[in-house]
Symmetry: C2
Subunit: 335 residues, 2 copies
């Protein structure tokens, strides 16, 4: 059983990236048959993979997608147009191979594992009491931590949980300031009345736990959810195992965000793969001083945005591995 | 031999998309296990593929990349940091499999064909005379037209040609207004003095051919290049053969742009895959009322931006083909 104090201690001593491996990538890039920097972000991504894999020639042989699922007591407040039963139904759909992420994972050459967290026991309604006790929170963090295979080359994280954009918005507000109206979005498709309810629910949650939530871990326990805690744990495990991470949309980014609040650079091993159409994500990406890789108007979760970005990394790596140098190809370098 | 008049006539009678196929895609999308619209642009892309393939269930079995290469007399004005010999050297690099597009094409599951156009005979310096005669222009259009295999499911277009961002900027200015300073970018890496030269060269070209270039085809002949003309021809052929097109960056988009100027909706079968870091591209995308799919800071050409986008389409199509419906999966639809 991990405890708050143990998590905090681990965050104080996070492994750093490998600047030498990154420099080796940058040096090789200058020799390849293209104008300097002309592959743009593809070049940056290869350097980032090298830095966090601690390998001068990074690999994408083992790309893993982890999707965590949880249920939320706050759904009792009418914050989603879908009933909470859909979380377990969608876990069944993942197992049967019928969801979007099943198709995208296959197309991306990635393995998919779905981890449901006590779906039969929703978190408490955070307008009333903390969503999770510290023990419940730490158990979910540990589940996420342990789900990461240490030999993974790239980890894509995602979630499923009816009501969890409400939890994510409340957590984001606790970590970065603002209110329900700043962070709430329409989730799976709320109407205007639902949006007003959702904003109010978030504001009541923030008020209810005001004396606790200046601490990022306490905020995640009071306002988050089990799948969010598991994503936090998986992000931490990835850092410990030298695994770069692709974060998915709003919920996933909010779940990992406490790591950036606990230690500067805590999310340097993570790239936000896709900026969600869910309202709060663009604000959250900016608050983390990140730039998302893709902007395709997606707002599904399930790690779908992360998985869509995997081939972009593969393209960058293929160039880095396979391109000829100016000397090899007999191509004149700049005059 | 195609002639100006024949091209113009063909453009007046372009095939339209298949609204029924598009509607069939939209209808199926509402049944799949995801909130409505939550796959964002992925859903739009599948509908677009269906519309222009004229197939209710589109395919991406035969994805073809065509890269056209040409040389430009305007390089004599010092508008590129690379010598013009690099065009032929890079064609050799493509043939040997050492360029970026070779790696990205392979990763995207696409075939690659490179078509050099009279590299030993550069176009004329457009500050002095028309880059091409109408006959030369039409011959290059025909080469591009004939390079398109009618059974292609998706066509990615790109180019290689030292000096061709100068030609593209001049053509864009002729088609959409503005001057060298509005449209010129640093190309493969021009310094400030080179940029000033390039802008002046464009302005001199626009002045030299002012009485001709209100006609889009004449503008493309006077200011463009053989590889640009071939891209125009290939884009036209794709429309005739019901093949959706992914356009690459600035040069490629400028090359295809006359089609949009000749007839409203002339580029509706084309998506701009990636907005280049080359300065003029964002302006050109806006002038065409398009929204690029990706924004990864690339500025290489070679169809690299188009090829990087192919897996995004594959992901969208995989979802459309493979996802379960709410009924099949036993998932509750919205309350």
């Amino acid at each position: 059983m991990i405890e708050f104090a143990a998590i905090r201690e681990q965050c104080r001593t996070l492994p750093t990236g490998d600047a030498g491996a990154e420099a080796a990538v940058r040096a090789r890039q200058t020799t390849l048959t293209k104008p300097p920097g002309s592959l743009g972000r593809l070049e940056d991504l290869v350097a980032w993979l090298a830095c966090w894999q601690h390998r001068a020639m990074p690999r994408l042989d083992r790309v893993a997608i982890l999707v965590f699922a949880g249920n939320h007591g706050v759904t009792g407040q009418g914050v989603s147009p879908y009933p909470p039963e859909v979380t377990a139904q969608m876990v069944g759909n993942f197992a049967a191979g019928g969801a979007a992420i099943n198709q995208i994972a296959k197309a991306a050459g990635a393995t998919l594992r779905v981890v449901p967290l006590s779906l039969e026991m929703p978190t408490a309604d955070f307008t009333d009491k903390p969503a999770m006790s510290p023990q419940e929170f730490c158990a979910a963090v540990a589940t996420g931590y342990d789900a990461v295979a240490p030999d993974t080359d790239l980890l894509c994280l995602g979630e499923m949980g009816i009501g969890n954009t409400t939890a994510a918005a409340a957590l984001a507000a606790a970590l970065f300031g603002g209110t329900g109206s700043d962070w709430a979005g329409r989730g799976t498709g709320l109407d205007d009345a639902g949006m007003a309810r959702k904003q109010s629910v978030i504001d009541r949650g923030l008020a209810r736990h005001a004396c606790m939530i200046s601490d990022p871990l306490a905020a995640a326990a009071c306002l988050g959810g089990r799948e969010l805690a598991a994503i936090f744990g998986a992000t931490l495990a990835a850092r410990q195992h030298n695994i770069p991470v692709l974060l998915d949309g709003f919920v996933c980014t909010a779940a990992a965000a406490p790591l950036a609040c606990l230690i500067p650079g805590g999310l340097d091993h993570a790239v936000i793969a896709h900026v969600s159409a869910e309202a709060g994500h663009r604000r959250l990406v900016a608050a983390l001083h990140k730039q998302a890789l893709l902007d395709l108007g997606m707002r599904l979760g399930e790690a779908s945005g992360a998985a869509v970005a995997v081939p972009v990394l593969r393209a960058g790596l293929a160039c880095h591995q396979g391109m000829a140098s100016f000397a090899e190809a007999g191509v004149s370098d700049q005059a």
